[in-house]
Each structure stands twice: as structure tokens, then as C-alpha cells.
């Protein structure tokens, strides 16, 4: 409170500008990280590296879309990583059995089932999303383990077009952009220019006010968690195209980073604030940060300390700048 009073007008004007354009400081930060990287390893920032960085940021950014959308309503989707794994595993193991098309359909059905479970728990039983998605993630993991025993002998196969999408690049542009660009454009458009997107913010910033305006919150929650699972499913397919090996834990490791990407990108975990633009930059920041720490010759422990400290510092500065406190 007192801090804002003592601010000089220039600082305040900068603050206001940043508050209205919250992605800008993030982009600046990203560029700083890239510059540091280039300074430490001259020559690394080349066409190939940029393409690879974007390539790895894409699945992360997609799973982080699940977090962003659910966080806009004050929730979270801890099952997203597992859903991506489920979709990728079901797809890869079904391809030899039923062919590519049906395999992808089955994968998406599996994803949507988890989403429905989440949606029902959150919308009707009012279970805290953290617990609901944690539980559904456990259930999905168990089901996946049972499932893999049924298909172990049939082997697995990743369709050619997914591999092409996941691994190829065209200059600095990885092929996955063909999926991601429309996806990101759709989410960015939807969050501000569709009724559903606006309702996410509305439910997240004041559910009672939304109710007062005639919004039935359960419809929003149900649709949201199913949508989140669908996105996670697609991300899983893209991801397996990149890694090219089916695994029972393929995308699980993206879970915490996806939350971090959304948070670093300025989405409030309490709902009603933020957006996907910041998350995309957040995913890039995390990916570059990962590279930076990988290439720094230091003990693994120190890398992790640095990773956590940087995430915290970025979020704290961001909260200050955009005055969310």
C-alpha cells in the first residue's frame, strides 16, 4: 500500500504500461535469458537451436494451456500430463491393431473420459479441482497399467505424419507449428472473443456475479475440464510424434513445468486474471532456462536450486509489476 504512494510518476507510468501489456516484461526476460545463453555459449543461438527450443516448448505450452484455462476459473488440472500420456499410449498401441484413424479416435475418447470425470467432480460435487484431478490422474494411471498388459504383445507404432510433425523443421520453424499455430491462435482468440472464454474469466473472478448474470457455472466447469482433457490428448499425440517411443510415463514429467509455465506467464492461480499469451512465453522461458541450466557446468543440485529461485523471482517481480498483491 505504502509502496504505491511513494512511487515516482515515471515509475508509475511504466508500471501502468506493463500492467496493460503484461506479456512485454516476459518477452524481455526471455530475450535476456537467450542473451545470457549466447554469452555463455557463443554461437548456440542458431537456426537449429531456435527450432529445437520451439519444438520442445510446444507440448509444454499445450499442457500449460490446460493449466491456464483451468486456472482462469480458479482451478488446476493435475491430470493433464497423465491424460497426454494416456492418449499417446493408447494411440501408439492401437495403431497396429485398428489403424491410425480409429486409434486416434480411441485415444481422444480415453482423454475425454478423464475430462468428464474431472468435470463432474468439480461441477456437481464441488470437489476442489486439485484433489479431483489428482484422484482422476491416479485412476487413469492405474487403468493405463492394466491396459498395457492387454496390448503388450502387439507392439506399438507411431504414425508417420505424427513423426513428421514432431521432429521435422523448416528453417527456424518446427513442423509442429502447423498444429500449434492454429491451436494457439484459437485459444488466444477464444479467451477474449468467444462467450466461453469470457465466462472462464467471469466464473474465476466472481462466480456469484456470473451467476447473477445468468451463467450456470456447472456448464462452464464441465465443458472446461473436457476441453482441457482434449487439449492434453492432442498434446500427447504431438509429443509422441516428437519422442517416437510409447511409454507409460511419457508426458507425466510435463506436469509441474506446465503449472510453472502458466504461473510464470502471469495467470493467477486464484482465477480471473492472465491469459494464454503469457503462458506461451512462460513455456519458452522454462525451456530456455532448462537449456541454460543444462549447459552450465554446475552440480545438478545447484541447477535445481537456481531453477526454483528463478521461477520464484520472476513471479514475485511480475506480481509487483502488475500489482496483483
Amino acid at each position: 500500500m505504502t509502496a504505491s504512494v511513494t512511487q515516482t510518476p515515471i515509475l508509475r507510468r511504466v508500471g501502468n504500461f506493463l500492467r496493460d501489456n503484461p506479456v512485454i516484461p516476459l518477452i524481455v526476460l526471455l530475450l535476456v535469458l537467450v542473451a545470457v545463453l549466447q554469452y555463455l555459449r557463443p554461437g548456440i543461438v542458431n537456426e537449429r537451436w531456435i527450432a529445437n527450443t520451439i519444438k520442445f516448448a510446444i507440448p509444454l505450452a499445450m499442457i500449460a494451456a490446460c493449466q491456464t484455462l483451468t486456472m482462469l476459473t480458479g482451478g488446476i488440472d493435475l491430470s493433464a500430463g497423465i491424460v497426454a500420456t494416456v492418449a499417446s499410449f493408447v494411440m501408439a498401441t492401437q495403431v497396429p491393431l485398428v489403424g491410425v484413424g480409429p486409434a486416434i479416435a480411441y485415444a481422444m475418447i480415453a482423454a475425454v473420459l478423464v475430462g468428464l470425470l474431472n468435470g463432474v467432480g468439480v461441477a456437481f460435487f464441488r470437489v476442489h479441482p486439485l484433489i479431483m484431478t489428482l484422484g482422476s490422474g491416479l485412476i487413469a494411471t492405474g487403468c493405463l497399467q492394466v491396459y498395457q498388459r492387454l496390448v503388450i504383445a502387439s507392439g506399438s507404432s507411431v504414425p508417420e505424419f505424427l513423426t513428421w510433425l514432431g521432429t521435422g523443421r523448416w528453417g527456424v520453424v518446427p513442423n509442429a507449428m502447423i498444429v500449434f499455430l492454429p491451436f494457439a491462435a484459437l485459444i488466444l482468440w477464444a479467451q477474449s472473443r468467444t462467450g466461453f472464454g469470457r465466462l472462464l474469466y467471469a466464473v474465476g473472478s466472481n462466480e456469484r456475479a456470473a451467476r447473477l448474470s445468468g451463467v450456470r457455472a456447472w456448464q462452464v466447469y464441465l465443458a472446461l475440464y473436457v476441453l482441457s482433457a482434449l487439449i492434453a490428448g492432442v498434446a500427447g499425440l504431438l509429443y509422441i510424434g516428437m519422442i517416437r517411443t510409447a511409454s507409460l510415463s511419457l508426458a507425466n514429467a510435463l506436469m509441474l513445468p506446465s503449472v510453472a509455465a502458466a504461473v510464470v506467464g502471469g495467470t493467477s492461480i486464484f482465477g480471473g486474471r492472465g491469459g494464454y499469451g503469457g503462458t506461451i512465453v512462460g513455456a519458452l522461458i522454462l525451456t530456455v532456462l532448462g537449456t541454460l541450466l543444462t549447459l552450465l557446468q554446475m552440480p545438478e543440485g545447484a541447477r535445481r536450486v537456481l531453477f526454483g529461485a528463478i521461477i520464484l523471482a520472476v513471479t514475485a517481480i511480475y506480481v509487483r509489476l502488475t500489482d496483483q498483491g
Partner: protein
């Protein structure tokens, strides 16, 4: 039938190698005909969780416990409790320091030493990328000992980059791509089993294919046979060690106690640089296998199941 009940304790779930290990235990128990039922504690947990599982198996009154230990020293109390209760304990994959347990172990230090020595000799003089497993895991620590031993014996080799993949495919792939992007030249890659994605990354990046050492995972072995210009070596790290442990447990229960409590299954190395190796690799190919599964699905002299039986992954009573 008055068959045995045998408990299994494993602490990593959702990893092809461990799944194969559990399947080989089941298959071996089934074909032995001496086992009535298996009691499997198979989940992601730490050493303390494994202590819990072993004690639960003791409560369940099993005749033997086959365990893949999370740590060589951490389980000793529970193992002693088990053997004092007359339960046969066989540790597989890694050894345990408790004297009353039998051990059928993959020799992790030897695993790393064998592959690294091959790589260093292949290169002669130059630099390698050292892609380790999970920081803080004891198997990773053992392998590091073997790698360092080989390194000490080959003064012409330097490690240009050392990194932990966490035994995760995506991390490994991103890390090698990042390193390729630095433009720093390297002459070989040693991996702790995250191997096929490394070859993929080299191929996708259009850089010269340097020698790669990996494990005998189906995916990587396939690459050794099919990727043009790839010279590499697969060091066997059979998940079927579980089946061997199961066989040993049954054998002991049937009264045939071995003299040595410790059996080390030394790894084999197949390289496509020699014709002999190419033949071994060709024989090991199995396109039906899950790419995360090691191709060495059996261990001669120990396991007696067939390929179909381990893939079916069925235990007694199922």
C-alpha cells in the same frame, strides 16, 4: 497343489524395463509349475515404501520374496525380518548388503565400464557426451563408478558434457539437441539407457553420426540394425533378471541352496562394428516388442519360459 506363494517388490512403475522384469518373474513362476500364486507390490515409491511393502509381504505369509531393491543398504532390516521368519529373499538387478539374502544382480558398474570402454577404444582420442540417469539414484551412482574407471584407463578421452537425463526420453532428447546446437564437437555419446531418442536426435539434426552406447532396448537395437552409418553398442541389461531371481527363489525353496549367495550376471555387449555383433543384433531383433522393452527377454541357464510366455505376462493363478 501345495505350491509356493512368492512375493514381488518393485519400486518403479510405468517404465518398460521394470514391466519386463515383472513379466519375466510371472512367466518364470508359471512355467516352473511350483508356484501357486504371486503377491506383487509394484508401485512408485522410495526405500521406505519398499520397507513397507516387504513387511506387508511378510504379513501375507509368502514363502519367498523377490525384490528389486531401491537401495543396497536401506532394506536390510526388513530383509532380515523376512529371513528370520523363514522366508527366502532374493534381490535382483541390484545387490543388497544384507547377508541373509541371495542376490542375482546385473552388474551395474560393469555395465557402464563395458560400454564406456568400448566407446573409448572406438574413438581412441577425443571427447564424449556423458548422459547419466537420475541424479541421486543408487544405480546411477554405481554406473558412474564404472564409467569413471573406464575413463581413467583411457587418458585420451575427455568428457565434454555431463548431464542427467532423469531416465526420461524427452529430457534426454532435448538435452542432446541443446548440446548439438552449441556447435561444440564431440566424438561419441554414452547413455545410461535413454538411447534411441539420442540416435533420433543425431539423425534429425543432420550431424555426423558419432558412436553411441546404449542399452539393449528394442528400439535402440533396431536402430543399430537399420540406421545407415550408425556405429554403436548395446550393453545388455536384461529385465529378465527378474525371471532369474524367481528361478533362484524356487530352486532354494525346493531345497537346492546355492553355495554363493551372490550371482552377478555380467552384461554382454553387442556392437554393429563387428560381424559377430551384427549377427547377435540380427538375432535379437523383435519388432513386436514394446520399444522400451530390452530385447534380451531371457537369461540362459536361468529362465525357462518362451518368448510368447513372457509377452503374455501371465503368472500362476491368473
Amino acid at each position: 497343489a501345495d505350491g509356493f506363494t512368492i512375493g514381488i517388490s518393485n519400486t518403479v512403475q510405468g517404465n518398460g524395463w521394470r514391466e519386463q522384469m515383472v513379466c519375466s518373474m510371472k512367466a518364470q513362476a508359471l512355467v516352473s509349475g511350483a508356484v501357486d500364486g504371486l503377491n506383487i507390490a509394484h508401485r512408485n515409491t522410495d526405500a521406505a515404501g519398499q520397507l513397507e511393502d516387504i513387511r506387508n509381504l511378510i504379513q501375507a505369509g509368502v514363502d519367498a520374496i523377490v525384490v528389486n531393491p531401491a537401495n543396497p543398504d536401506a532394506l536390510n532390516d526388513a530383509i532380515r525380518e523376512a529371513t528370520e521368519a523363514g522366508i527366502v529373499v532374493v534381490a535382483v538387478d541390484q545387490s543388497v548388503s544384507e547377508e541373509s539374502a541371495f542376490v542375482v544382480s546385473n552388474n551395474q558398474e560393469e555395465y557402464a565400464y563395458l560400454g564406456a570402454s568400448w566407446l573409448f577404444e572406438q574413438i581412441g582420442e577425443g571427447s564424449v557426451v556423458y548422459m547419466r540417469g537420475a541424479a541421486g539414484a543408487s544405480a546411477d551412482d554405481d554406473r558412474d563408478a564404472g564409467f569413471q574407471r573406464a575413463l581413467a584407463e583411457n587418458p585420451g578421452i575427455t568428457v565434454v558434457h555431463e548431464v542427467f537425463t532423469g531416465w526420461q526420453q524427452d529430457q534426454g532428447k532435448q538435452q542432446i539437441l541443446d548440446f548439438i546446437a552449441t556447435g561444440i564437437p564431440f566424438d561419441g555419446v554414452w547413455t545410461s539407457g535413454i538411447d534411441n531418442v539420442i540416435v533420433d536426435a543425431l539423425v534429425e539434426s543432420d550431424v555426423p553420426l558419432v558412436p553411441v552406447v546404449g542399452a539393449d532396448n528394442a528400439g535402440f537395437v533396431g536402430q543399430l540394425a537399420s540406421v545407415d552409418g550408425l556405429v554403436g553398442a548395446a550393453v545388455s541389461n536384461p529385465g529378465s533378471i527378474g525371471g532369474a531371481g524367481m528361478a533362484l527363489a524356487i530352486q532354494i525353496l525346493q531345497g537346492d541352496v546355492p553355495e554363493d549367495r551372490m550371482v552377478l550376471v555380467d552384461p554382454a555387449l553387442w556392437t554393429n562394428a563387428t560381424e559377430e555383433g551384427q549377427a547377435q543384433i540380427a538375432a535379437a531383433q523383435n519388432p513386436d516388442l514394446d520399444p522400451e522393452w530390452p530385447v534380451s527377454v531371457s537369461i540362459d541357464g536361468w529362465t525357462t519360459y518362451s518368448m510368447e510366455e513372457i509377452i503374455a505376462c501371465r503368472g500362476p493363478g491368473e
